[in-house]
């Protein structure tokens, strides 16, 4: 069972704003789903399945970067070629 507090914490970790009034509903659904997931407890922890598809590489050859006007085309928050982001302190 996870509590509303747990769900609020997860929302913080996921940087998802959950409104206070939504919390109870989210928590209830969360617990129903987690209960269902409990079936996985019956699964033996086996070894990881191998794959032959390994070592997929590209060569160290310079390719074109995006043209300047396209880099910042999808945001209004820009300044002197930089993206403008919220403050970090």
């Amino acid at each position: 069972m996870v509590s509303e507090k747990d769900v609020a914490h997860i929302a913080e970790l996921a940087d998802i704003g959950i409104e206070k009034e939504e919390l109870a509903e989210f928590t209830g659904r969360f617990n129903e789903i987690l209960d269902y997931f409990d079936i996985l407890d019956q699964v033996e922890q086996g070894t990881r399945g191998g794959t032959d598809l390994v070592n997929i590489f590209r060569d160290d050859i310079v390719e074109d970067s995006l043209p300047g006007d396209e880099v910042l085309a999808n945001t209004l928050e820009k300044e002197d070629g930089f993206f403008r982001a919220p403050r970090v302190m």
């Binding site: 929302a11 996985l40 999808n74």
Partner: protein, 432 residues
């Protein structure tokens, strides 16, 4: 270059973006109008994934498959509606409103590629691209009465597909006939170095309806609890038809089905929680409020930008990966996933393909399913193919309560040709 004429009457809300005109050129798909699911990047054409958080986003590049269909001469008609980021089974979870099922407008078209299915079923386009993470091509194909194929994982490049659950999803064709599915497969497949999971296995095949001597496995679990007996009955009729065409029907068991759905939802939500972290408003999409601290700003942007189901899945995945729970959820899900793969590998030593219903029921009424878990449970028959990475097709096989039912055929890895042959045989059998 010629301009295609197409109907702009989108009465089922199949499209998020409709283009003013569609250019078509020479090639295998010359003169064919095609719809593209809105989670596939199209250069200069809004690509939203049916989410507010990507409203107005204009990709500066084309997805690999978009380049391929353009090169084959198809005319892109528009971008189709879907469940936000592919998270849903009904196309109700769209920021742009639900799509209606052309077979019955009070019903959902299925999801998440519901817009593509409705666009094809209604005749607005001849073909569409969908994406299938846990059944998102096959479910709407079944609900709308068209054909939809999820290719073998790696056969179609994912470059440009906005990721929901990378290890599970494939882009695939949706059309009214198996021949068109086959035609589109020729265009979509092939190696793309930009996708490290891409496999060099081009599809060059003409469907062959001769299935004499083919062994078809029918797992008991595909007709078990939760499967509507009326749907089961229609599908059994379909399987009988295949038997009449010379196939051997062998009932079998798939014990890992018990864990498949949980394994699927743990895996896809875990991957999604990470994939969707990039939507913070800094580089694209409606901008972040830069007057706040980054944490407040990201939270607000994501709170306003994501719908409820997307938030739920991001949180489920965040939880499943968090320290102390990783072993219980994510790691166990991977072990269960391996069991599903092993089950299929074992079965495919005995049978050539596996058949069963695509969905346990017919299309739901719009608004009928409000409980997320019961919605998830309706994916039980489609997710095993994604967990194993095997090809799976849904082909219309009659109706129940007047609504379309889909027959699902699954095959071994890289045997898309075989499942398409069986679907073709079935389609030919029905129409004669």
């Amino acid at each position: 270059m010629a301009t295609l004429t197409f109907t702009r009457d989108d009465r089922y809300n199949a499209f998020i973006t409709m283009l003013d005109n569609a250019e078509t050129g020479p090639g295998k798909l010359s003169g064919i109008g095609i719809a593209i699911k809105d989670n596939i990047s199209t250069r200069g054409i809004q690509t939203t994934c049916a989410s507010r958080i990507l409203e107005g986003y204009l990709p500066p590049y084309d997805a690999h498959v978009v380049t391929l269909v353009k090169k084959a001469g198809a005319g892109i008609v528009g971008k189709t509606n879907m469940d936000e980021f592919g998270m849903g089974t009904t196309t109700e979870n769209s920021a742009f409103g639900p799509t209606k099922n052309p077979a019955d407008t009070s019903r959902v078209p299925g999801g998440s590629s519901g817009g593509s299915a409705a666009a094809v079923a209604s005749g607005m386009v001849r073909m569409a691209l969908g994406t299938d993470t846990g059944g998102s091509i096959r479910c709407p194909a079944a609900f709308c009465g068209i054909v939809g194929h999820k290719p073998t994982y790696g056969r179609v490049s994912r470059y440009g597909l906005v990721a929901y659950a990378n290890s599970l999803e494939q882009i695939g064709p949706m059309a009214r006939t198996v021949s068109d599915i086959s035609l589109l497969m020729e265009v979509l497949t092939g190696y793309d170095p930009r996708d490290s999971t891409s496999v060099n296995c081009p599809y060059a095949h003409i469907p062959d309806p001769d299935i004499r001597g083919l062994k078809i496995g029918v797992p008991e679990e595909y007709f078990g609890e939760g499967v509507d007996p009326r749907v089961a009955s229609v599908v059994w009729d379909g399987i009988s038809l295949l038997e009449r065409k010379g196939a051997d029907i062998i009932t079998c068991r798939m014990p890992s089905m018990a864990y498949a759905l949980a394994a699927y939802y743990v895996t896809c939500t875990s991957e999604a929680s990470s994939n969707l972290a990039r939507f913070d408003g800094v580089r694209y999409g409606p901008p972040a409020d830069t007057r706040q601290t980054w944490h407040e700003s990201f939270q607000e942007r994501r709170r306003d930008g994501f719908g409820t189901e997307v938030k739920r899945r991001i949180m489920l995945g965040t939880f499943a990966l968090s320290s102390g729970y990783y072993g219980k959820y994510y790691a166990k899900a991977q072990a269960a996933r391996q069991q599903v793969r092993n089950d299929f590998l074992r079965l495919f030593r005995e049978v050539d393909v596996i058949a069963g219903p695509t969905m346990p029921t017919v299309a739901f009424r719009i608004g009928e399913k409000t409980d997320p878990l019961s919605m998830y449970l309706s994916d039980i028959l489609t997710v095993p193919a994604n967990l194993a990475g095997i090809p799976a097709i849904s082909v219309p096989c009659g109706t129940s309560e007047g609504l379309p039912v889909g027959l699902q055929i699954m095959g071994p890895h890289f045997r898309d040709e075989r499942v398409i042959d069986v679907a073709y045989a079935f389609e030919q059998g029905v129409s004669r």
